[in-house]
Assembly symmetry: C2
Homo-oligomer: 289 residues x 2
C-alpha cells in the first residue's frame, strides 16, 4: 500500500507523538538514549550538508561527541548546563579534533574548515538537544508529570508556531518573507505563527497552573509565546539557509514525510534552550504569585 | 637602527616577560584585560587563515565573542570554567551567529562554513586563554604570589619544551618528525623537548613546595613535564597545520621577531587548560603529602 505524502506525515506523527510523550515521561536515561541518537543523526545530517561544500568533517568522532553532550547532561540533569561538564568536554574535543586533523586530514585536507565544521555540528546538535533533559529535570519541578509538561511547553508552542505559519500562509500569504532563503514563507504566515504560538502558550500556562512551581502569569505566557515563535522561525530560517548552502531539499530521511532530523527539529534546537532559560531565569520556580 | 631577527626576538622577550609576570601578579581584571585583547587578536588571526580559504567569517562579532569568554571568566575566576557561564555564552553565540549569517551572508555566502569558522575561532582563542585566569585564581591557592606561580608552571614548562626542542633539534636533529606539516621539526628535537620540559617541571614542583597547597611529588612533576611537553608539541603542530592550510608563514605581526599571537601562544592554548585540569584533578589542593 502506498500512502500520499500528507497521509504518511500524519501517520508518522500519530505514532511518533505518543512515543515522544512516553519517552519524556520516562525521563533521564530513556530520554537521554533517544536524544543521544537524535543528536548523532542531526550532527551527521549537518556533516552531509558540509560535505556538499567539498569539506569532509570527521563524521564518527563528531557524531560521538554530539551524543556525549547528551550523555554528560543525563548524569545530573538537575544541575543544568553549567553542572554538566560541557566546557570540559568542549575543551577536550577542540584539542582532540584539532590533533586528529593532523593525521586524519593533513595540511592538504582543509583542516581549518574540517575542525570548525566537526566541532560546530557536534555542539549545535548535541549541546542544544541536551536542553530537553535540563527542562524535563528542572530543579524544583515536582515529578515526572510536571517535568514532562515543562519540556512539552516549548515543544507545543513551537509546533503551534510552525503549524499556524503553514496554514495562515497558505490561506492568506501574499508577501514573501525572505524568498532568497525560503521561498515558501510569507509575512502573513510569520504573523499567524506568532498568534498561534501565543494561544498555545496561554494554554500551557493554564496547564502549568496545576503544579506548585514554574507558574506563568498571563503577561509571561504571552511573552513566552512571542519569544518561542520568533526563535522557532529564526531556527527554521537558519536551517533553510544551511540546506540551501548545501544544495539539498531535505536534510535526511529519518521520518517518512517529515524529512530528516534537522528538518523536523530545526526550530526545537533554538526553542529548547530558550524555554529552559525562560523558565529558570524569567518565570523562576516561584512564578509571579 | 636595525636589529637582526634574533636580537629583536630576545629584546621583545626581555621586555615582554617581566610585563607578563606583573600582569599575572596583578591578576583578575588586569590579567583579564590583557587576555581579552590577546584572545581577540588570536581569533582575528584564525579568521585571516580561514579567509585565505575563501570563507569570510564574521570578524568583529567573533573577536568580541572571544573576548567575552575572558570577560565572563574574570567575574568569578575561582569558580572555574563550569561556573563562568561559558555554556550559556556558547548557546547564545551559536544561535546569534547562525541567525546573523542569514542577513550578513545569505545562502550564497557560504553560511555553513562561515558560522562554523566564526564559532570555532572564538572558542579556540577565547575559552582556551581563559584558563590562564582559572589557573591564577585556583581555589585554595594562597594569594597572588602562589597564583602567579601556578599560572607560570605550565607556561615555563611549555617554553622549556619549545626552547629545548629548538636547540636539541638544531644540534642533533636528523630524522624529520612530520615534514609534510612542519619541515623543521625532528624526532631528536621532540625527545629533547620532553627532557627540557621534565627538568623545568621538577624546578616548578620545587618552587610550589614553598606554598601549602597544590604541592607536586616527584612522580607528579615528571608526569606534568611529560604531558605538558606532549600537549605543547601537538598544539604547535596543529597551528603549523592551520597556517599551512591558510598558506601563510606567520599568523600575524603582533610581536616583532615572534610572529603573531597564534605563532607565539599556539602551544599555550593547549597547555593552559591541561595545566588547570592537572592541578585541579591530579595534584589537587592537598597534593601527595
Amino acid at each position: 500500500m502506498k500512502f500520499s505524502e500528507t497521509t504518511t506525515r500524519v501517520l508518522v506523527a500519530a505514532v511518533g507523538i505518543p512515543i515522544a510523550v512516553l519517552v519524556a515521561f520516562a525521563g533521564r536515561w530513556v530520554l537521554a538514549a533517544v536524544l543521544a541518537a537524535l543528536a548523532a543523526v542531526t550532527a551527521l545530517e549537518f556533516y552531509r550538508l558540509v560535505e556538499a561544500k567539498g569539506i569532509a568533517p570527521l563524521r564518527a568522532p563528531g557524531a560521538l561527541l554530539a551524543a556525549s553532550f547528551v550523555g554528560l547532561a543525563a548524569i545530573d540533569p538537575g544541575a543544568g548546563p553549567e553542572g554538566a561538564g560541557f566546557v570540559g568536554l568542549m575543551v577536550f574535543a577542540t584539542l582532540a579534533v584539532a590533533s586528529a586533523a593532523i593525521w586524519a586530514r593533513g595540511a592538504t585536507g582543509q583542516p581549518l574548515l574540517v575542525v570548525s565544521a566537526t566541532l560546530t555540528g557536534a555542539f549545535y546538535a548535541g549541546a542544544l538537544f541536551s536542553f530537553a533533559l535540563f527542562l524535563r529535570h528542572l530543579p524544583d519541578s515536582v515529578g515526572a508529570r510536571h517535568g514532562t509538561m515543562l519540556l512539552f511547553a516549548p515543544i507545543l508552542v513551537t509546533w503551534a508556531s510552525d503549524t499556524s505559519a503553514y496554514f495562515v500562509g497558505r490561506a492568506w500569504g501574499t508577501r514573501k518573507l525572505i524568498p532568497s532563503i525560503s521561498p515558501g514563507k510569507t509575512v502573513q504566515g510569520a504573523a499567524g505563527a506568532v498568534v498561534g504560538a501565543v494561544a498555545v502558550a496561554i494554554g500551557c500556562a493554564w496547564m502549568l497552573g496545576f503544579f506548585p512551581t514554574y507558574r506563568m502569569g498571563i503577561v509571561q505566557a504571552i511573552t513566552f509565546g512571542l519569544l518561542v515563535s520568533l526563535a522557532a522561525q529564526v531556527g527554521d530560517l537558519v536551517e533553510s539557509l544551511f540546506k540551501r548552502d548545501g544544495g539539498v531539499k531535505d536534510s535526511g530521511r529519518l521520518l517518512p514525510g517529515h524529512g530528516g532530523a534537522l528538518d523536523r527539529f530545526d526550530s526545537l534546537l533554538f526553542t529548547l534552550p530558550l524555554g529552559y532559560f525562560y523558565f529558570r531565569f524569567v518565570v523562576g520556580p516561584l512564578g509571579p504569585f
